[in-house]
């Protein structure tokens, strides 16, 4: 039985790969973003991204540290249902397709998800939303920086902080140089690498280990993983679906793309992106079920994917996993850095600090904020295992589940219900997050998002039913270019 004591990838090869791909992404970032002149170019790639690039960026951004490393972790912990449940995260992208169309119609000149909440529900709800959104964005950023460090440590034995620092620095650099245009361009290449690499690893795992051996050993050693009546996994199924929906519906990562994609592109791009994404967690997660058959020791649940791939496939497998996960991490880290810096620039800097900031001021602010976000993320990820919440990838992610799932209903009601109550939207996020977090600690990680979404729905429906507030939809298009700081 093997463990972490002998890394499979020689340090020299790991450094070579790291250097080669770092240079590739940074040069591409510079090249793709060289014509950006204004904040709108930098933040929204000129608002005219076509279908192929749009589909690729939707799919690649959604293939994150979560998919490539947490999907195997969930297969190991919650079995077949965990793996299938994880793939239901695709519904987040698919259901966002009609929302993307509606967002583009309602706010043709919009910039961020914060813009929408501010105009639709007013200042108080906007501030609650910003807190929810920034907690999630920061949690996701830190989890991905951690994933980079864990991966490099698991495969090559390079110190966790060194690997994490290199990956984070590369992503900050090319996001800084190229803005959303660079993010989307690199996502396209990263998508091809991810699909080809994941399919290659799964095919070789089945070929080398075989379904029968995997099934036999699971039945002998970890029978619940094959049980269709595994209670925690049944509870997890809709939790994960609603977590994914919450992540996508509220996050500026997806809103900024809805604004950036050309007219009539958003709906099809999110639909195709979701369908392409659907099999990825199954392929990535499946290999974890081979753990008992292979007799691999898994010291920490979030390391199972890279460990199994490297064990089964040796040096080639380790190289492929390294490249695939680096691509997956980079494609999400850059998107999140870009989208979060847009949100902070528009909604905090211009919305709260300098309402009269010019285009050029915002352009500069976006870049400074990317660097600051990178630094903050580095600080938090440096203390992996030492801070109470920043324990493992999954712990950190599921913690944010309660927050994001509680934002589903303010977004859906805001877009579709004419009489949605603004106070109800704020309290649905506050109470949904609070009770979701309580259930995280009292029951388990697999119900936090579910409880958050259910409470949020109940509050939103009740508030709108008891105190309906009619809204003029045209205000969104009319006001979205006006100076911020004034409540809707």
């Amino acid at each position: 039985m093997t463990g972490l004591d002998d890394p499979i990838l020689p340090t020299s090869i790991a450094w070579g790969l790291l250097a080669a791909f770092s240079v590739l992404w940074v040069v591409l970032g510079w090249w793709l973003g060289r014509r950006n002149k204004t904040a709108e170019d930098h933040m929204l790639a000129g608002r005219n991204v076509g279908l192929a690039l749009a589909t690729a960026t939707a799919m690649a951004t959604w293939v994150t540290a979560n998919t490539t490393m947490t999907a195997p972790q969930l297969a190991l912990q919650l079995g077949v249902w965990g793996m299938l449940g994880y793939s239901l995260g695709a519904l987040g992208l698919i259901l966002f397709a009609p929302l993307a169309r509606r967002i583009r119609e309602l706010m043709p000149r919009g910039f961020t998800s914060g813009d929408f909440i501010r105009l639709r529900f007013g200042t108080f709800t906007w501030r609650v939303f910003l807190v929810v959104s920034l907690i999630y964005a920061f949690g996701w950023l830190v989890s991905m920086a951690m994933a980079g460090g864990v991966l490099i440590n698991a495969l090559a034995g390079i110190d966790y902080r060194v690997g994490m620092t290199v990956i984070l620095t590369v992503c900050v650099l090319y996001t800084l140089l190229g803005g959303l245009r660079a993010v989307i361009g690199t996502d396209f290449i990263q998508t091809i690498i991810i699909i080809a690499g994941a399919a290659f690893i799964a095919w070789l795992t089945i070929d080398k280990v075989g379904f029968e051996a995997i099934h036999f050993n699971l039945m002998e050693e970890r029978p619940e993983l094959l049980s269709l009546l595994f209670p925690a996994a049944i509870m997890f199924l809709f939790n994960n679906l609603l977590f994914g929906v919450g992540e996508i519906f509220h996050s500026n990562v997806w809103w900024s793309r809805a604004f950036a994609f050309g007219r009539h592109v958003g709906f099809r791009a999110y639909l195709f992106g979701g369908l392409l994404w659907l099999p990825i967690p199954i392929v990535a997660g499946f290999i974890a079920l081979a753990t008992p058959a292979l007799g691999i020791n898994v010291p920490a649940a979030d390391m199972v994917g890279p460990l199994v791939a490297a064990e089964v496939l040796g040096l080639t497998g380790a190289i492929v996993v390294f490249i695939v996960v680096f691509a997956a991490l980079a494609s999400s880290l850059d998107s999140l850095l870009a989208a979060t810096s847009d949100l902070v620039t528009r909604d905090i800097y211009r919305g709260h600090i300098r309402p009269q900031a010019s285009e050029q001021n915002q352009f500069r602010a976006t870049k400074v904020i990317v660097v600051l976000l990178g630094l903050l993320t580095w600080l938090a990820a440096s203390y992996r295992g030492e801070l109470p919440i920043v324990g493992s990838l999954a712990e950190l992610l599921y913690f944010t589940g309660a927050f994001v799932a509680s934002a589903i209903w303010p977004i859906v009601a805001g877009l579709y219900w004419k009489r949605a109550n603004p106070q109800g939207a704020a309290w649905s996020m506050i109470l949904g997050s609070g009770l979701g977090l309580a259930s995280y600690f009292m029951i388990g990680f697999y119900v936090a998002a579910l409880v958050g979404a259910a409470v949020s729905l109940a509050v939103m429906v009740l508030a709108t039913w008891l105190a309906p507030r009619p809204f003029d939809w045209d205000r969104l298009a009319r006001d979205d270019t006006q100076v911020m700081g004034s409540p809707a």
Binding site: M1, Q77, E224, I234, F238, G444, Y446
Partner: protein, 133 residues
């Protein structure tokens, strides 16, 4: 007094010496999802054994090596016993018992039903597609 301190010094030192033998680090007592992580402290390679009965009749070795933790998952309801020893030693150095008691299916399907309702309402709200007047 000083002499007393010098005499007692070896006793104070003894816990540090004892840590050379492997020992579980805060093992869990219960699990509601059939999974948990076992951590241990050791300076050498260890052997970890898992059994279901107090007499360890059905024991099997689940890990041998220098890692200091292992992820267990997919266990059915029951009481599981784990023993740990240094690879070169004959005697077991530490043991831990973990009781697995899964959530009831009624509770699991309760959460499943709540999730299904929220999801169906969501689909309904989006499929209507137009702002409600």
């Amino acid at each position: 007094m000083r002499l007393m301190f010098i005499l007692l010094l070896p006793l104070l030192w003894s816990p540090l010496v004892a840590s050379a033998t492997p020992a579980f680090d805060a093992p869990p007592e219960r699990s509601t999802d059939g999974g948990f992580t076992l951590n241990w402290e050791t300076d050498t390679a260890v052997v970890l054994e898992q059994a279901t009965g107090p007499d360890h009749a059905d024991a099997r070795i689940i890990y041998e090596g220098s890692d200091t933790s292992t992820v267990i998952s997919g266990l059915s309801d029951g009481e599981y016993r784990f023993r740990l020893r240094a690879a070169e030693a004959d005697d077991w150095a530490d043991q831990a018992t973990v009781t697995v008691e899964h959530h009831s299916l009624a509770r699991a399907f309760g959460f499943f039903a709540v999730g299904a309702i929220v999801f169906l309402v969501l689909i309904g709200a989006i499929l209507r597609g137009r702002p409600r007047d």
